[in-house]
């Protein structure tokens, strides 16, 4: 089998997600299995839902027998942040033809973050690379979930803390945004940090993300004329 350059490039971008999703997926599979569902369920849920934190909540919903309205409300609340992830890719995903629906479906936190950072070399097909990044990430998640549910009990290493790869990945991407040296990007980073911390302090750890995003977007809309001029005006370096 020949492996195309886009596939290789996409894999190089996604290896931190392989580690992070692999182990987080295993944790999910193990949890689901403890709630009384076998590996087939873990595969199904990760294949059709594909939303990390929501799937952990789903295990709670299933084991406590909460009804459909509660499940619906929790999904909309927890996943509302996803609304903001599609915005930068309205045109890009549409231009991807048959892959459009999958690109929309698979836009998780991690895939979004990689898309914000990736610089595809001009000799590669950008759409192919993005599709492969999205697909690989889901394969890691589904694979981890299924393996966790099937064999999780057999794991004997102490992997406590391995999920820090996701924090590290987001931190690296944030530093990349900062190092891009555009003054507007740096202000946006600072604004995001300020809104995130302020909202965390006000609303607490379980419900701060949506207010933080709304606040950040509101402020960016207000500051847009200024920031857009900076962006077009050049960089700090």
């Amino acid at each position: 089998m020949r492996v195309g350059p886009e596939t290789k490039f996409a894999f190089r971008q996604t290896w931190p997600v392989l580690i992070g999703y692999g182990f987080l997926g295993m944790a999910f599979g193990l949890l689901l299995q403890h709630a009384g569902y076998h590996a087939g369920w873990a595969f199904l849920v990760s294949a059709v839902v594909y939303a990390g934190s929501m799937q952990f909540v789903l295990v709670g919903i299933l084991s406590s027998g909460l009804g459909l309205p509660a499940a619906a409300l929790m999904t909309l609340t927890i996943n509302s942040r996803h609304f903001f992830y599609g915005l930068p890719f309205l045109k890009t995903f549409r231009a991807m033809g048959r892959r459009f629906l999958y690109m929309v479906f698979s836009l998780t936190d991690e895939t979004y973050a990689l898309f914000c950072q990736v610089q595809v070399p001009s000799e590669l097909d950008r759409y192919k690379v993005m599709f492969r990044i999205a697909l690989f990430n889901q394969i890691y998640w589904v694979g981890g979930s299924t393996l966790g549910a099937a064999f999780g009990e057999m794991a004997r290493f102490n992997l406590k803390g391995i999920d820090f790869t996701m924090t590290a990945l987001f931190t690296v991407i944030l530093v990349e945004q900062w190092l891009s040296a555009a003054l507007s990007a740096r202000l946006s980073v600072l604004l995001g940090l300020a809104c995130g911390v302020a909202s965390l302090l006000v609303f607490g750890p379980d419900r701060f993300v949506l207010p933080a995003l709304l606040l950040a977007v509101g402020l960016l809309v207000l500051l847009r004329p200024l920031l857009a001029r900076m962006r077009r005006g050049g960089t700090t370096s």
Binding site: P16, V189, L200
Partner: protein, 110 residues
């Protein structure tokens, strides 16, 4: 729960998750003439959103759990410093995660 009830819950969660991801594509259906403010916003937003995601990852940091909080903050600071210095994803993420795991497993086991 019966298998059918479980399937119904999974279907609702999956369907609504897709709705949250598809909503912007439905709301802004005519991208041929994107308004200037939307395209500006789309360039300005990602750094702020990633910053909020980092805060999201660190949401359990609190004075009530000083050991784990300190380990997380050290880990993030290390990742950021390594990345500013060498700009190598493998190094920053690998060393940062290894140090965090060492801290929570060996140095300050909880």
């Amino acid at each position: 729960m019966t298998a059918w009830q479980t399937l119904a819950v999974v279907a609702v969660v999956a369907g609504l998750t897709f709705v949250t991801r598809a909503l912007p594509f439905w709301l802004f259906r005519s991208p041929d003439r994107p308004s200037a403010w939307l395209s500006d916003l789309n360039r300005l937003m990602p750094p702020a959103v990633i910053a909020i995601l980092v805060v999201f990852c660190l949401k359990t940091v609190s004075l009530d759990a000083p050991k784990d909080s300190l380990a997380q903050l050290i880990g993030v600071a290390l990742v950021a410093l390594l990345h500013v210095w060498k700009r190598n994803n493998l190094l920053s993420i690998g060393v940062g995660t290894a140090v965090y795991m060492l801290l929570v497993q060996v140095v300050w086991p909880i």
